[in-house]
């Protein structure tokens, strides 16, 4: 039978690469588990993927540290990135591609032209807008210009990392480059934010797999993050949660409470206000996550995490709160009422933390007075 399709399906690509159907189902079953789908949904996902065209992906890097790409490509298990690179056609990524200069730019132009309206744009990094966007340029063009052009023909934009999702560290006060998240600049395309500094590789892979297999944007939270990964706080799923409920807290990183594995709330853990899958999927192939290694959560998947005061101040500090997507800066001052209320309900530690915060603020004020 004649086949007039110009693009091979994912199944045909996998066959070419020698990946067996059973192996592919095996990984789709694993990914279904990550996505909280029933195990047998992995088979349905595999069948959908096998018949789907391999989507063209354009990966744009702006103001970023490449940690997000490192997270994906240097994950503990070599299978995640090999799986993801089998199901997508990565037509442009200036960090990974062999081509450079005019050749690389031509590859991106061709991919956008050939797949207009169908390709996926992945953005890694925030976009500087001050002074005509001169703080991030490639091939003589600003990041704003490159993003605007790529977004026009995109089916969807996936923001990988907190920088592209919410501005991240470049957005931190005083934000000298006028860094902005993608959602502040592109308003007419579906945007999926996969935040984290960096995001968990399984979360990046799972989000892409879900989008490619269903062709639809997954259910998102108020910050456009896939609910399946960002539906619970770290605190909700933390194995140390029972110690929080019992009022057992580490007071320093080397006290008896720390040695006993008690809750790190008073050491500044941001788990109660941070939505991410670290406590369930974990890191390094499921080995552990920061809290399991004895350090509190930094809240890196939340908007404005860099500007919320010390990582070691307890959450009852009044600057923590709910962040908004369109204007991340505005939300930093909103009080974290729910968190404080939850802490007060669970234990008396919130009051203790507030007292500690006041003491610290007083000490700081005294220091400043002395210095002045």
């Amino acid at each position: 039978m004649a086949d007039d399709r110009s693009e091979p399906t994912i199944g045909e690509i996998l066959q070419t690469h020698g990946v067996s159907r059973r192996t592919f189902i095996k990984y789709c079953t694993a990914m279904a588990s990550v996505l909280a789908l029933p195990p047998l949904a992995g088979r349905a996902m595999a069948e959908q993927l096998l018949a789907a065209p391999r989507p063209s992906v354009i990966y744009l890097s702006f103001q970023e540290c490449t940690g997000c790409l490192e997270s994906l490509t240097r994950s503990f298990s070599p299978t995640i990135e090999s799986l993801i690179f089998d199901i997508i056609s990565l037509d442009y990524d200036d960090t990974l591609m062999a081509a450079a200069g005019a050749q690389a730019e031509a590859a991106r132009d061709k991919a956008m032209k050939d797949n207009y309206g169908k390709y996926i744009v992945i953005v890694d990094g925030s976009v500087p807008t001050s002074d005509g966007g001169i703080y991030s340029c490639a091939a003589g063009r600003s990041a704003v210009d490159i993003l605007s052009e790529a977004a026009k023909g995109a089916a969807a934009i996936v923001c990988v990392g907190t920088c592209s999702s919410f501005g991240g560290i470049p957005f931190a006060d005083p934000n000298p480059t006028g860094a902005q998240p993608v959602s502040a600049l592109i308003t007419d395309k579906p945007i999926i934010n996969v935040s984290g500094c960096p995001p968990i590789p399984e979360v990046i892979a799972g989000t892409l797999l879900q989008y490619v297999s269903t062709g639809t944007v997954p259910e998102l939270d108020e910050h456009r993050r896939p609910k399946v990964f960002f539906g619970n706080t770290i605190h909700d799923r933390c194995y140390r949660r029972s110690f929080y409920d019992e009022g057992k807290f580490a007071k320093s990183f080397d006290d008896e409470g720390a040695r006993n594995g008690w809750c790190l709330f008073e050491l500044g853990c941001k788990g109660p206000t941070t939505y991410n899958a670290c406590a369930t999927i974990k890191w390094n192939g499921g080995t552990s996550f920061p809290i399991e290694s004895g350090h509190g959560c930094l809240g890196c998947s939340e908007p404005g995490f860099w500007d919320k005061g010390s990582f070691y101040s307890p959450l009852s500090a009044p600057r923590w709160g709910k962040a908004g997507e369109a204007s991340p800066r505005q939300v930093l001052e909103v009080a974290g009422a729910a968190v404080v209320a939850g802490a007060a309900l669970g234990v008396a530690s919130a009051g203790l933390s507030r007292r500690r915060q006041r003491q610290k603020e007083k000490l700081n004020a005294d220091d400043e007075t002395e210095e002045g």
């Binding site: 159907r21 095996k26 990984y27 694993a30 588990s33 029933p38 503990f76 298990s77 299978t79």
Partner: protein
């Protein structure tokens, strides 16, 4: 007055083995494991009545390693063990309950990437698809290099 003897060397400290709190030692099964067993029974009924296979993802449930052992103990050992060699070694073992399979998928590094109980006549990953049968036949014919005419030609 209680007299405490000084401990002389590590060998003076007795070794005490903590008894494992499992169904085998206590004769009781935890509530979570009981719920899973009831769910498995319901899925076996569905398989018998409608032919519909099912599965329970063990990694998505808040189970301790003891819970998992209790579940495995309760299901018991079966007579079939299957090893899948594809990007790492994975095992599928039938339990003592026919039609209930304990599956553990691992990657190349040996890391567990999926663990679930499948309720099916045969694990759904195993049967060969018609396309694969045709490709196999084609490959055999290519392999013999025209030594014998293909069947039906």
């Amino acid at each position: 007055m209680v007299r405490i003897q000084a401990v002389k060397g590590l060998t003076a400290i007795p070794i005490r083995v903590e008894p494992r709190d499992s169904a085998a030692t206590t004769g009781t099964i935890g509530g979570g494991v009981t719920a899973i067993l009831i769910e498995i029974a319901a899925q076996l009924d569905r398989l018998a009545d409608d032919g519909e296979p099912g599965a329970i993802d063990l990694r998505s449930l808040p189970m301790s390693s003891d819970d998992r052992e209790q579940l495995l103990d309760a299901l018991g050992p079966g007579e079939v063990t299957i090893t899948l060699q594809g990007d790492g070694e994975s095992t599928i073992c039938e339990t003592g309950v026919h039609g209930v399979w304990w599956s553990e998928f691992r990657d190349r590094g040996g890391a567990l990437i999926a663990a679930f109980v499948e309720i099916a006549r045969v694990p759904t990953i195993l049967p060969v698809e018609p396309d694969e049968l045709r490709r196999g036949a084609q490959s055999l014919r290519t392999g013999v290099g025209g030594a014998a005419p293909p069947r039906g030609s």
